[in-house]
């Protein structure tokens, strides 16, 4: 391949997004629509004894208020199964009981004729609480040595441990044992979560900002005891999600119930504060890493024990140890992760779940080991490069990590590094260099798609997946164009609708590897359907063996004979030929291990006179197989690096001792702004991974966010001599650390 694939293509939805024409969920207004506005609990733990509703019910425009005492009692829980595609974020149904599990938990939904009326009334709904003084935080005890003896659920790392990690550690020539922690983070996608529900007879249509229309449809079908076919979930454009919109949240159920009861469309745009309290977070995690090595740097033992908070309303294992067994060649590896319940809102996957926090700990520990050994950190990693996946003992499908290290080091100018701490200066600023490895598992799932040849020459491709800003619309069009010869501007891509053939979640960096093979299968099937028609008696190719006919450049061809598809459709007297098909991974996972790798190098500047730390530049080299659209793929990596800069330096969802979420807004929850962004230089290697799919693509959404926090932390140590093992690396940690 190709002119169209692996080529920088401006997005096909660019004009819509750039002109205000893209219809995000909150932009859709339906006739007769009412507005929902949620009310959140003021306390984090206790009982809701009642609600003061009278004043609110009497306010202008208020239609109804939904709460525990009047909510729909026929609702069922979703089974919450990933395999059945009905995972939900918070298993508890809205208003299910009167126990308060977290600050901001919905206690009512006000519905009114206008947004202003709904909000005003919601502000007048007050809960009467019996607060429970006991706010649980089991994880604070996890610093102790004996992990098994602690509270929380012990989740072994998927049987990934190998060898005798403890014994090897005891016998190691050099050892290291440190604790790391990562603050709770919030996805804070710019688009507020939103849901508009409307019923037509027994059919429910939900406009939702979601990374998974199919999952939400199936979850709703259980909650409302309906066949999935009677539910449609639509999400044409998503103001991103970063994992926070993978699975349904309670506001969608509240809204659908309200719409059914009131027999009118209801739109609920979740206010920013509630997005923080009640729509997901990356949970706080605490990790302990023990490394054993020989004096030459050869790793002999890795023990990585992680833990993360979850909510009382549901279990979320953040799997911070997931990458560790595969990162380095080491015979003795033990990993565990534990989960403890706290009175916080439900956590959920956030961009690069597991790897982002886990590689912060492991890659910082590797840097610390390099200092102990007086080795160059790049050399230490090279010394322990894993020629095959040590976790599965399978060969890598494709692994160019060594080239990533070398390529990024060269472009960064790593050879200019003076190893000594604080030795590189410019004016008042002390310069620090740091690096880390990056990694994300590559996955591919089952997917269906439909392709339709249209009489006007256009080709329509549809799939029940989404474009959350990653560029899925565009790469689907590129792929269909490449394979059919139809110009990209004549490819009509339909996504974000659960009535379309079932497509994957937009998450986990698996959408590209999953969707494109289905597009190809559907195009092949539609082509075959056309061939079947034109090889009938009296048709253009009736004299030809159908297996020898090919689709080339918008035409069916056989030898020298080439007839445009549009001509064939006209001759057939039909308006379209369409077919749906599925594609799924084969048994390649039995033969290969699939993982993307990268290397990230960072320069920081520390001005001790004013306690100011800034990231001066970032260089990253990434091996993701083939980028279908290097322009959008590079943008993904750059965005991940920016979010990683926030994770490293700023981001912290803060709960006080009572479980109160203190900074549930974008002024107090500090994310990077434009002025924080240094020059970023990303290079994508181009080694197609054809073991995963025919397009060689492994996906790109997460990997940019891995490793970067460690690289920054390592650079801070190089500049300051301060080893900050707790994120974020805040000013006070820099000021107070030794």
């Amino acid at each position: 391949m190709s002119e169209t694939l692996n080529t920088q293509k401006p997005r096909i939805d660019g004009a819509l997004k750039l002109s205000g024409g893209a219809d995000y969920t909150a932009d859709i207004n339906l006739d007769g629509q009412l507005y929902g506005y949620p009310v959140g609990s003021a306390i984090a733990s206790g009982e809701l004894e009642g609600l003061e509703l009278e004043e609110a019910l009497g306010m202008p425009g208020v239609v109804d208020i939904f709460h525990h005492d009047n909510f729909d009692s026929t609702l069922k829980h979703s089974p919450n199964s990933f395999a059945e595609k009905n995972t939900v974020s918070e298993p508890r149904l809205p208003f299910e009981d009167t126990t308060i599990h977290y600050h901001g938990q919905y206690i009512a939904l006000v519905v009114a004729d206008t947004f202003e009326h709904a909000r005003a009334a919601a502000q007048n709904v007050k809960g009467k609480y019996r607060a429970n003084d006991q706010v649980t935080s089991q994880l604070d005890e996890l610093d102790a040595d004996n992990v098994a003896g602690l509270p929380g659920v012990l989740q072994e790392g998927d049987g990934q441990s190998r060898g005798e990690a403890d014994a090897a550690y005891e016998n190691a020539e050099v050892t290291l044992d440190h604790h790391y922690s990562i603050a709770t983070e919030t996805h804070a996608a710019m688009e507020l979560h939103a849901s508009t529900a409307t019923w037509s007879g027994d059919h429910l249509t939900v406009y939702e900002s979601t990374q998974g229309v199919v999952f939400q449809r199936h979850a709703l079908s259980h909650v409302f005891s309906m066949p999935p076919e009677q539910i449609n979930v639509i999400s044409h454009f998503i103001g991103s999600g970063f994992g926070g919109k993978l699975f349904m949240w309670p506001h969608a159920i509240m809204t659908a119930v309200a719409s059914r009861r009131l027999k009118r469309p209801v739109k609920t745009v979740v206010p920013r504060q509630s997005v923080f309290t009640s729509a997901g977070s990356r949970p706080r995690s605490m990790q302990r890493v023990r490394l054993g090595a020989r004096a030459d740097g050869t790793l002999t033992s890795i023990r990585h024990d992680g833990s993360n908070e979850t909510a009382f309303v549901g279990m979320h294992n953040d799997t911070v140890i997931s990458a560790t067994p595969s990162m380095y060649a080491c015979e003795n590896v033990a990993v565990t992760n534990r989960v403890g319940e706290v009175n916080h809102g439900m956590p959920c996957p956030m961009r690069a779940p597991g790897e982002a926090p886990g590689l912060f700990a492991l890659e910082t520990a590797m840097d610390e080991l390099a200092w102990q050994l007086e080795m160059d950190p790049v050399e230490l990693r090279k010394k322990n490069f894993a020629e095959r996946d040590p976790a599965s003992d399978l060969p890598w499908s494709s692994n160019h990590l060594i080239e990533c290290w070398d390529n990024a080091a060269k472009r960064f100018g790593w050879e200019n590094r003076t190893a000594e701490i604080g030795a590189m200066r410019e004016g008042d600023e002390i310069i620090g260099y740091g690096m880390a490895s990056q990694s994300w598992e590559a996955m591919r799932l089952q997917c269906s798609a439909r392709v339709t040849f249209l009489a006007d020459g256009r080709l329509q491709v549809s799939c029940g997946t989404q474009d959350i800003g990653t560029g899925t619309y565009t790469i689907v069009a590129q792929t269909a164009s490449e394979l059919s010869g139809v110009p990209i501007e004549d490819i009509d891509v339909r996504l974000g609708d659960s009535s379309l053939p079932s497509g994957p979640l937009s998450g986990g960096s698996f959408a590209t590897a999953t969707v494109l093979p289905a597009v190809k299968a559907a195009l092949d099937a539609a082509t075959q359907a056309l061939i079947d028609k034109v090889t009938q008696d009296g048709q253009a190719f009736s004299d030809v063996d159908s297996e020898s006919i090919e689709l080339n450049d918008r035409a069916l061809t056989y030898g020298d004979r080439s007839i445009p598809v549009t001509t064939l459709l006209e001759e057939l007297g039909i308006g379209q030929v369409t077919a749906e098909a599925s594609a799924e991974p084969g048994d390649e996972k039995n033969d290969y291990s699939f993982r993307s790798f990268g290397a990230v190098f960072v320069e920081v500047r520390w001005d001790p006179g004013i306690s100011r730390l800034k990231v001066e530049r970032i260089v990253s080299t990434i091996d993701i197989g083939r980028a279908i659209n290097p322009m959008t793929a590079r943008n993904q990596v750059e965005g991940g690096l920016v979010m990683g800069l926030g994770m490293a330096l700023f981001e912290q969802t803060e709960y006080d001792k009572s479980g109160y979420l203190y900074n549930a807004n974008l002024a107090d929850y500090i994310v990077p702004v434009h002025a924080d962004i240094p020059p970023i230089d990303v290079e994508l290697l181009d080694y197609p991974d054809y073991h995963l799919n025919a397009f060689g693509a492994r996906g790109v959404g997460e990997i940019g966010l891995t490793g970067i926090a460690a690289a920054i932390s390592n650079a801070v140590y190089h500049a300051t001599g301060k080893r900050i093992r707790d994120l974020p690396i805040s000013i006070e940690r820099l000021l107070m650390a030794n």
Binding site: I12, E116, M190, G469, G639, V673
Partner: protein, 221 residues
């Protein structure tokens, strides 16, 4: 030469059909978009922005005031309650949903519009207080069916991902490029654009787009 939006002289120009630029944009080097049907519906709705709303027969409802707002060069008549903020009126009353709500508290910049050429947060401004102002939203930037140079540059540099902060980014960029008090260095642009959060982190490309549009607009405004 196409006359682009200039806050100092803006006013009177009428927003043309938004369908046109989708057809003509290919000429500028970016592949023309394929516009799905549902998107065309959305556009058609926006394109039918009236040249002034019909005179409303009945008096405003109790508590409501009938006001005139000049939006994208068009005098609009709308009934508002005093507490209604400009953002909600644009989106819910005038159908101009290109301006986004990201926080509703002046903390993100997604709702940025131009008022008399100055970028403001429309979420922190009462609609009723803008009766003598010229308001420009993202829907009012293109001219004669062509994208504004800033929109064009954003497209060519892939200066967005999810697109949700993009309207605000573009409106800020237009204001920055038309404000000679703001320096032209990368650092000055970064600082001036720091009121627009992009959680996707497309800042690098946003900066490149703004600086590139500066060249295109030179002499064009």
């Amino acid at each position: 030469m196409t006359e682009y939006f200039d806050p100092k002289t803006q006013g009177g120009a009428t927003s043309k059909s938004r369908r046109n630029f989708l057809k003509t944009v290919g000429a500028s080097g970016v592949a023309a978009a394929s516009t799905p049907l549902w998107a065309q519906t959305t556009q058609a709705r926006a394109a039918e922005t009236p040249e002034g709303d019909p005179v409303k027969a009945s008096a405003p409802a109790p508590g409501m005031s009938r006001i005139q707002l000049n939006v994208n060069g068009v005098e609009r008549t709308v009934d508002v309650a005093p507490q209604m903020v400009l953002l909600d009126v644009l989106r819910n009353e005038l159908g101009l949903t290109g301006t986004k709500k990201g926080c509703d508290q002046g903390q993100c910049g997604a709702c940025t519009v131009l008022v008399n050429g100055q970028a403001i947060n429309s979420c922190l401004s009462l609609a009723i207080s803008h009766q003598s102002d010229e308001i420009t939203t993202i829907e009012g930037l293109e001219r004669d069916g062509e994208l504004h140079p800033v929109q064009q540059a954003f497209w060519e540099h892939d200066a967005f991902q999810c697109g949700y902060c993009t309207s605000g980014q573009i409106m800020s960029a237009v204001a920055v490029l038309n404000d000679d008090r703001i320096g032209q260095s990368d650092a000055a642009v970064r600082e001036a654009m720091s009121g627009n959060i992009c959680r996707c982190g497309a800042y690098k490309n946003i900066l490149a787009a703004v600086q590139d549009a500066r060249k295109t607009m030179k002499g064009g405004v």
